[in-house]
Symmetry: C2
Subunit: 145 residues, 2 copies
DNA sequence: TTCGATGCAAATAGTTTGCATTCTA
DNA sequence: TAGAATGCAAACTATTTGCATCGAA
């Protein structure tokens, strides 16, 4: 039940030490939105611990990623969002309004199987978002183009 | 048959002027690899015209993109590659060795149709590469992990 | 001659790194 | 107390922008 402790324990198991900054970042990951940029997380951590530096945020995120706790997904043009590994799913991001639609990982399995058969290529589709246009923006786009 | 002239003409039609730099960049796009980073292109252009600035390369690429001549695809972690619109296809990039596998756009149509039906989301799959592992790296990865 | 294109330098966004210091285990 | 973690500043990558000048039509 205590997700925070479980995650910290997992870090400790990997030889890491538990610090205030790490505790705060894990807490930040556990509340609110499931997808947060490094910036979002830094802001949240700063609320309680203003002295935690941005570079530390990145280093902790890196440690968490190595420990298999989080993963990051690129949402186009440079910025990445981080989320807990438990929340595995594909991401669809709207190029126009930026809304993120989640869909089960299974949706891509058919394509993945075909690609693997044809090219031997194993798609890791979680690491990138599929871009496009959400329902609303697709409608607008169609009428204005 | 003269692709270079055709492209330049297309630029001119949009109100643009034809300059040495533009001519050189279009030439660079037409030879060799079908996918090049802004850096690759800058290097090629510099070979003949060392004074052309990087920012100019970006501005020309932007103009070409607006004119519908090229498009850029993000290959993960910040860098983008440009290619002529005629060469439309999906990209699979290996996270390990960086090799790019191309596959017909049609391969994703089934997934795209399902997603559009379920979520109203219109995937623009050409704008991003699907990450994963190529046959060779997948084999290595499996045995070493 | 006019307005688009360019060179330059500086700014930007997002992230990473070297190094001396601090703190956990 | 050893070695991991941190703060800080500075570097980095890829790209963009303001501005004065240049050049194509």
């Amino acid at each position: 039940m205590d997700r925070e402790l479980a995650i910290l324990e997992r870090l400790r198991a990997g030889g890491s030490r538990i610090t205030v900054a790490r505790r705060a970042l894990v807490e930040a990951l556990l509340v609110g939105e499931t997808h947060k940029t490094a910036d979002d997380l830094a802001e949240q951590v700063h609320a309680a611990h203003p002295s935690v530096h941005r570079s530390t945020i990145y280093r902790i995120l890196d440690a968490l990623e190595q420990a298999g706790v989080v993963e990051h997904v690129h949402f186009g043009h440079g910025r990445a969002v981080y989320h807990l590994l438990e929340d595995r799913h594909l991401h669809l991001v709207c190029d126009d309004c930026g809304v993120v639609v989640e869909m089960p990982e299974a949706a891509i399995s058919e394509l993945a199987a075909r690609v693997e058969g044809d090219h031997g290529f194993v798609i890791d589709s979680r690491h990138f978002a599929l871009p496009g246009r959400c329902r609303a923006c697709a409608a607008v786009h169609q009428s204005s183009t």
